[in-house]
């Protein structure tokens, strides 16, 4: 019983520590307290990258081994990843309004992130559009591999193109982080906390997916569908076409 909840307990503890550090870190010299949104916006974006990387791993794992559990991992991770992508966009928007002066602008980072969100929503839609588990796993795996191309593009968009969004502070291609040490510590702990929340969510989602697959396997596909016995009403005087 304790082992089953270890992930959850670690996640909750890290979130609590992260919150205390985020509130205790010094405010930014220019942005003031609004900058504290960084401690949730950046981890959310990081988890989105991580989630889609795990979907890539799960997809490749399925293509190589044809074991269902890889497919379930890919699906669960993509689902959580979409939530965190949406969260990163929403939190970024909340940060953008007071600092940039706009909720949204059509720069490369924002547009590529929106595309990332939409393409993985498409991935989830694809999973619901195919009934046969084998076909669904194959098509999803291919999309799970191809769609990951976007992640490095999103991350490097601020380096490759001119944007309103700032270039990376921590994962910079060339230099050390350009951030106060206390802020960096708070950020890294929050990244760890979000990662733990992600792991706990994916673990639970994958367990549900396994139960769904088992229930599915017990379903008789040739049984009559609900509603089959209902006969469509005919209007009086209607002529059969």
């Amino acid at each position: 019983m304790i082992r089953r909840h270890t992930f959850d307990i670690v996640a909750v503890a890290l979130v609590a520590i992260g919150f205390v550090l985020a509130m205790g870190a010094p405010p930014d010299r220019l942005q003031g307290d609004v900058q504290r949104l960084m401690y949730v916006h950046v981890p959310a974006a990081w988890v989105a990258y991580l989630a889609f990387a795990v979907t890539l791993v799960g997809s490749v794992g399925w293509l190589v081994s044809r074991r269902r559990r890889w497919d379930r991992l890919a699906a669960s991770s993509a689902e959580v990843g979409v939530v965190f992508t949406g969260l990163a966009i929403a939190l970024g928007s909340l940060w953008g309004k007071p600092i940039w002066g706009v909720w949204w602008t059509w720069d490369a980072r924002l547009v590529t992130t929106a595309l990332l969100f939409i393409v993985y929503l498409g991935y989830l839609a694809l999973r619901r559009a195919v009934a046969d588990p084998e076909t669904r796993a194959r098509r999803s795996a291919i999309l799970g591999v191809v769609a990951f191309v976007q992640v490095p593009i999103v991350h490097m968009s601020v380096v490759w193109w001119r944007t309103l969004h700032q270039p990376p502070t921590v994962l910079r291609p060339d230099q050390h982080p350009t951030m106060d040490h206390d802020m960096l510590m708070a950020l890294l702990v929050n990244v760890a906390a979000f990662t733990a929340v992600y792991a706990a969510l994916v673990r639970r989602r994958a367990a549900v997916a396994r139960l769904e697959a088992e229930a599915d396997a017990h379903t008789d596909r040739h049984a009559p569908l609900a509603g089959d016995a209902v006969i469509a009403p005919r209007l009086e005087g209607a002529v059969d076409g």
Binding site: P26, P27, D28, R29, L30, Q31, Q35, M38, P98, I99, W100, G101, V102, T105, W106, D107, A108, I142, V146, V149, V159, W160, W161, R162, T163, L164, Q166, P167, P168, T169, R172, T178, M179, D180, H181, D182, M183
Partner: protein, 144 residues
């Protein structure tokens, strides 16, 4: 699989080499804006980014007037509307507007904050003051 790769290849070529008539460039630097002044005239709207020159900000009845530079070329800007809270001299801004008799008439201003984060009392230790030359953004696409 093959159609997907084909679509991806076409997209890549269009994005990398097509330039879509310059529409993919999010903003122009002040030097580029001056270069294209003749071509744009006073009608065409575009985004312009640069560094607000120290002590150049003057409040006006309709908004603010200031000078903006990329370290090489300086442009006089007349902005209409209330600037965002963070607006001050020495910060990077992105403006939307058009040329107006040699000055840039802007009606939308966005603050382009940089990637430096530091505490107020520790400014000297972690945040070396930036020079306008450090703002020079990479040219779109190819370089870097």
């Amino acid at each position: 699989m093959i159609p997907a790769v084909g679509v991806a290849a076409v997209l890549f070529v269009v994005l990398a080499f097509g330039d879509l008539r310059g529409n993919l460039v999010y903003y122009l630097t002040t030097s580029e804006a001056v270069d294209r002044q003749g071509q744009f005239g006073d009608q065409r709207r575009f985004r312009l980014a640069g560094h607000v020159v120290e002590d150049s900000v003057r409040p006006t009845a309709a908004g603010a007037a200031f000078s903006m530079t990329d370290g090489v070329t300086t442009i006089e800007v007349v902005h209409t509307g209330a600037p965002p809270q963070l607006f001050r001299s020495g910060i990077d801004v992105v403006l939307e507007g058009s040329w107006d008799e040699g000055r840039f008439a802007s009606d939308t201003m966005m603050i382009k904050h940089d990637e430096q984060y530091c505490a107020p009392e520790r400014e000297e230790r972690h945040c070396p003051s930036r020079t306008p030359a450090a703002d020079a953004a990479p040219a779109d696409g190819a370089s870097r």
